[in-house]
Amino acid sequence: MEPILSVQGLQKIYGGKGNRTQALRGLDFKVFPGEFVGVMGPSGSGKTTLLNCISTIDSPSAGSILVEGAELTRLKGKSLSRFRRERLGFIFQDCNLLDTLTGLENISLALTIGGAESRSVEKRAREAARLLGVEEVLDKFPYQMSGGQQQRVAAARAMVTQPALIFADEPTGALDSKSTGMLLGQLDKLNREEGATILLVTHDAFTASWCKRILFLQDGELYKELHRNGADRKTFFREILAVVSELGGESENVL
């Protein structure tokens, strides 16, 4: 099967002479259609840098990123914007929804920016809202919704354009445990039933336990890869915790 995302030898260096920081030191991995992949790692491991590079918000210093065979690092300006709105969907930790728009309008926005046929917009937006179980808040403004509802509306917006890849950057970072469970359950459903490919970045083991495969990053390099292989969530959660403490232990050794 062709990978949907393929990252090869990805490097990112911040700063110039004297104060160079190498955030990514040659990263290789692939994501196949229908996968639900988690990226974990402690602060400073390069998670956010990686996501920024793949989501075209930042550009890498070296290496290549292929999405459906298209080389991202060569895209510029208009075609970059176009790629972003047509092939990618985003869910961020905060500042997710426009506070001036209702839930329905927030979801529709992803379509109208893409120049979708205006008559079909509302119907498609409602369909996406149904999939994520946020139909009851469609006419509300973000400040009238709970944090979990906001994130699910954001998820609906991310998938309404039927992107090749959905990026979720710490989507549960600001949520309580109940909302976290609900959001992840919906994402999992989206992955299972709609076949959406999701790349989720988190530092939280519980959140990561919903994924099917987890990449652990440390100091800008791939430290370990963990497959769920049909295990239940609890078992997987323990496996993840083991790797996380291993990671913590290593950094203690460094000290």
């Binding site: 914007s81 972003r84 529709s108 109208t112 920016i113 205006s118 509302e122 403004f141």
Partner: protein, 617 residues
């Protein structure tokens, strides 16, 4: 320590301060320019000739200046508030670091004072330049022969006045700043920028009802104005003003909900960033509707005052231009009210003015008492009659066409002498003359050579002579006097109009610019999100321009409608003095509006775009 920090703050946040500084400088500059009119060489020159207009110019300037100061004070307070809002976080940091409220207040007062002094200095300097330019322009426009020294100078009176008035404004602003700093709560300062206006769907019925109510009260105000005219100032006049303001306010308040609901059903709503732009606008409309009301009223004043002053200016030119066909008219009222003809050329020769050398033509004419029973012309409108042959002789002297045979008396088509004496004269057939009594002798004189020099010489000779008139009751009407009067009136009307119009217009535009720029910072996050969602730069910029355009155009639209109705009422008043060329004045006003308002619009778009791109101003 505070002083040093204040200095460094000002230098570092120069961009934050730019808007505030420019507003201040502009106010000072305009205020100085118009208040230094008294020391302008043109005015001094006019005052030399005992021009009555100069006095009124100064009195009116004083009255309007007080009014203008109030408007500018409001603007400066608004700008200061804008600045404080931008710096809330910074203030919060000072408090967090353990600075006392008093110290932070002092710091802010230092900063405000620094900016104030800078703006005052720059404003006066620019004002002096503008005043000099205005002086030059006035000379070019009104004076055929530039006189002696027209040099660059600083008007100390105006400087004093400017410093006094603006000193007071700065004091108020400083006090305001100090109080608002010492009363602010740390949590509000730190969390600023996260508070948003609560947006809720309001029932459509309410919006429609409010909108209709607004239209009705505005319509009533218009009706009162048009029926009763502009200048009947009594209780009902204030009711009209109140209704007009209320109507404007209600329309602005309800318009967004109304328009939003109307467009939501339209497929265009879900197209590109239309939805976003409309929501951006309607989300802020409740905060902005009071400001919008003020802006549209300021625009009404700006448009109205400018158009009226330009129109009136044209009217004056047209009226007075035809009234002084001769360099000098000598009016001989006779001896003790009894008609007695005099040889005016000889009288001039007696005081040392050689009529052959100085005058190119001397033409006398006798006017008769208008006896309605003989001439058939009403006594109320016609005080005198002139013979057809005399009239035709005068017209021929000026190269104008005379009248053919008359069946019955008519009003003189052209003025026969200088000044008001030319009004109310009927031309009668020569046959009627024997039946009428002579009333007055009028002698029209044209100068030979340089008119200004001859005029000076004639006046000097008349001043020095003991007895020019030989006991006769004689009056002079000089063309140059009329000309200076006209010039004074034109300057009065035009400068007053431009001064007030400019102040109103720029104040309105500045409020809008500040409003949009202060919102741009909040918008930065939203636009960044749009970028992440894949909206290309051109799309985002288009949305921003449309957003600013909505903010600028709506108050303008209502202001223009107001002005249209107001001008109709004002024309009735001006009409008494003569016809107003509405096309000309409207065009000029539109140009004026386009340049200044348009300039502010473009500048605001650019500033807001920069703010959105960088996430700060």
């Amino acid at each position: 320590m505070s002083c040093k920090l204040a200095l460094r703050n000002v230098r570092r946040s120069i961009r934050d301060y730019a808007v505030y500084f420019l507003t201040l400088t502009f106010g000072v500059c305009l205020f100085y320019t118009f208040n230094s009119l008294g020391d302008q060489s043109v005015m001094r020159f006019l005052a030399q000739n005992q021009n009555s207009m100069v006095e009124s110019i100064f009195i009116l300037m004083g009255v309007f200046s007080a009014f203008v100061v109030v408007v500018l004070a409001g603007l400066i307070l608004y700008a200061n508030q804008f600045l404080m809002k931008r710096r809330k976080r910074e203030l919060g940091t000072y408090f967090l670091l353990g600075m006392s409220a008093g110290k932070v207040s002092r710091l802010m007062i230092f900063e405000t004072l620094l900016i104030g002094l800078g703006a005052l200095g720059t404003g006066i300097l620019l004002g002096a330049l503008a005043s000099w330019g205005l002086d030059k322009l006035t000379i070019a426009m009104f004076l055929a022969t530039p006189g002696n020294i027209f040099s660059f100078s600083l008007s100390f009176g105006a400087v004093g006045k400017t410093v006094l008035y603006f000193g007071c404004i700065f004091l108020v602003v400083t006090l305001f700043t100090g109080v608002s700093v010492s009363q602010s709560r740390l949590i509000d300062l730190i969390r600023s920028g996260r508070t948003n206006e609560e947006i809720a769907q309001r029932p459509l019925a309410l919006a429609v009802a409010l909108f209709l109510l607004g239209c009705v009260s505005l319509g009533t105000a218009y009706a009162i104005l048009l029926v009763r005219g502009l200048l009947r100032i009594d209780l009902l006049w204030f009711v009209m003003l109140g209704l007009g303001t209320l109507g404007t306010f209600l329309i602005f308040r309800s318009l967004s909900g109304f328009l939003l609901r109307l467009t939501q059903g339209h497929p265009g709503y879900y197209k590109g960033l239309n939805m976003f732009v409309l929501r951006q606008w309607s989300g802020k409309v409740h905060t902005n509707c009071a400001a919008n009301t003020v802006i549209s009223i300021l625009l009404l004043l700006a448009i109205g005052v400018t158009a009226c002053s330009v129109g009136l200016n044209d009217t004056i030119t047209a009226t007075v231009g035809g009234q002084t066909p001769y360099d000098l008219t000598v009016l001989n009222y006779g001896r003790e009210g009894i008609y007695e003809e005099a040889d005016v050329a000889e009288l001039f020769r007696n005081i040392g003015v050689d009529p052959d050398a100085c005058f190119s033509s001397v033409e006398g004419v006798t006017v008769y008492y208008n006896d309605p029973e003989i001439t058939g012309m009403p006594a109320a409108g016609y005080y005198a009659a002139v013979a057809l042959s005399d009239y035709n002789r005068l017209m021929a002297g000026r190269g104008l066409e005379g009248l053919a045979d008359l069946e019955k008396p008519i009003r003189t088509p052209n003025a026969i002498v200088n000044g008001p004496a030319a009004d109310g004269v009927a031309v009668v057939p020569d046959e009627m003359l024997p039946l009428l009594t002579p009333r007055r002798q009028m002698v029209n004189i044209c100068y030979a050579g340089n008119a200004v020099q001859v005029d000076d010489m004639v006046r000097m000779a008349l001043d020095e002579s003991e007895d020019f008139s030989a006991g006769l009751d004689i009056m002079m009407n000089y063309k140059l006097d009329n000309y200076y009067d006209l010039m004074g009136a034109k300057i009065l009307v035009l400068y007053m109009g431009l001064y007030l119009g400019l102040v109103f217009l720029v104040t309105a535009a500045a409020i809008l610019a500040l409003q949009q720029l202060s919102q741009a910072a909040d918008n930065a996050q939203r636009y960044q999100l749009l970028s992440k969602l894949g909206a290309p730069e051109s799309m985002r910029r288009g949305a921003l321009v449309r957003q600013v355009a909505l903010a600028f155009l709506l108050p303008l639209a209502l202001g223009v409608i107001h002005a249209f109705v107001g001008m109709k009422a004002a024309n009735e008043v001006i009409h008494v003095m003569g016809h107003v060329d509405s096309v000309h004045s409207s065009l000029l006003t539109a140009l004026f509006l386009l340049v200044i308002y348009g300039g502010y619009f473009i500048a605001t778009c650019m500033g807001a775009w920069r703010a959105v791109r960088e996430g700060k101003i």
